[in-house]
Amino acid sequence: MAKEVMSGWTRVGNVSRGVSSVIRECIFGVLRVGPIPNHIAFIMDGNRRYDKKQNPGGAAVSGGHDAAFWALVAMVMYCYELGVKYVTAYAFSIDNFKRKSEDVQILMDSMLRKFDLLEKVAIHFAIRVHFAGNLGPFNNEFRVSAMKLMEATAGYSNSLLTICVAYTSRDEILHAIEESCEQKCIDHVREINSDGDHIIKLMDLEKNMYMAVAPDPDIIIRTEGENRLSNFLLWQSCGSHLCSMSVLWPEIELWNLVLAILNFQKHKPYLERKKKEKQV
């Protein structure tokens, strides 16, 4: 575990200092000539395949998930330096509970170990951390640690990192409807007519979404070459540029992000026009 942490910090250290830092600032300076996305979302796919690559024929270990964490930290740092205000990562889907219980436990333990490290990174860069999803199925220790991390970073407003755990879009939509129903019942129980005609409006649902803390993503990046959203940000992705990369998530590099942003800049005028048409 200590070796993995050192390897992770080395990756982060290489990110944050030296010649690579100067080169990166030059690249970011060029990118900033064009529009910079306000919100980038990541579907972090490929961790188990990375694990099998590093550990062929071995039992399930958490190496892939640990490497995934450091890849996320690197991406968050790049986005922070570039001026991307919102970053969202799909860490754990409700559907992932269907995996073998030992695999789920390994993933949970891996995430729990990372909370302290994530808190250090978030405080260093003044990034607020928010967990989106239904934390109910997790054990008390996980829930308490997640709440503690959110409280420790609640005061930061420059950047937001949203980590989706026990999240699916369908669950998010149902949750928003349930919250809206409860609010309408509490507020207007005497005013609801027998038809219940259009009492819940679209904006009621929007404000009760787990992802109401951030604007819709400009780019959704999925690794491992897959071309689907897998129940992630389906509601929020109407105007998002969808980007699929063949690289495995733990192996994602700066140039992958730069390429995604260049593609976004190329299509930005079109996506902006579509957004304005929807508002009209």
Binding site: V33, S230, W235, G239
Partner: protein
């Protein structure tokens, strides 16, 4: 004072030259990206031509049975090209896919639905009062026309259907975090408001960008999404390649 003025002038010109260099670098980067896409596009066009001629063996047999329901998202500006839309549908039907959903953001295809349906003998309009399973078993062609109003707005209308159920159940508004509604209840509510329908296995996006333009969120959980480029540049070979690629995908569904 003369020195500070010179310093300001130097700074001004340094910034100006720096900005010009940055802009030139940005345009150069984008020119390189454009050239890469152009080259890739030429290669794809050639491959598509070879596939259309049946010269690439691996594309000759497609496991079409893997596609129960196909959705085609068309950029609204292209949706008025009805002849292109009809041609595309003819290709899809010729490949053996009979159940198709056509989506465009502004509902332009909905206005052309009679014209499109006339071109296909025996094609019926998808009625969401039908059971999805029964419909998909039918051999005849079904066409569904969907727009943005069948997405988020439909969910809001369905939410009101669920609200009435919630009130009738005598709920007090303090359920303390328990789940009240299920996926199937929501799917039923969407059918009630006229926006039900099966989840497509594959979405083909015909437009300038890889963006689903608001396709109903409830219906695309595990749907593969492939970007095909603008409708005016559509090619039969690209369609076959996209379907072939879909049939080789393996999904874990979260497991």
């Amino acid at each position: 004072m003369d020195f500070s003025r010179k310093k300001r002038m130097l700074r001004f010109w340094t910034d100006k030259i720096g900005n010009i260099l940055l802009r030139m670098s940005w345009h150069l980067l984008h020119a390189i990206i454009y050239l890469c896409y152009f080259t890739t596009g030429m290669v794809h066009a050639l491959e598509s031509h070879l596939i259309s001629r049946g010269l690439l063996r691996r594309y000759k047999s497609l496991h079409i049975s893997k596609i129960n329901y196909l959705a085609i998202v068309i950029e609204s500006e292209d949706a008025c090209r009805t002849s292109n839309v009809i041609q595309l549908l003819q290709w899809v039907v010729a490949l053996g896919i009979n159940h198709i959903c056509l989506y465009d953001n502004e509902g332009i295809l909905k206005k052309s639905k009679d014209l499109i349906l006339d071109k296909f003998d025996g094609a019926i309009l998808f009625q969401d009062t039908h059971e999805d399973n029964i419909l998909l078993d039918q051999p005849c062609m079904t066409l569904e026309f969907v727009s943005f109003s069948d997405g988020k707005e439909a969910v809001a209308r369905a939410a009101n259907v669920l609200l009435m159920k919630y009130i009738k159940s005598g709920a007090t508004g303090s359920n303390q975090g328990e789940q009240i509604f299920t996926d199937s209840q929501m799917s039923e509510a969407l059918k009630t408001v006229g926006s039900g329908g099966p989840e497509p296995d594959l979405i083909l996006i015909y437009g300038p960008a890889r963006c689903h333009l608001g396709f109903p969120a409830w219906r695309m959980r595990y749907t593969e999404i492939q970007h095909m480029g603008p409708l005016k540049s559509m090619e039969y070979g690209s369609l076959i390649k996209a379907i072939y690629r879909f049939t080789t995908v393996r999904q874990n569904y979260g497991k």
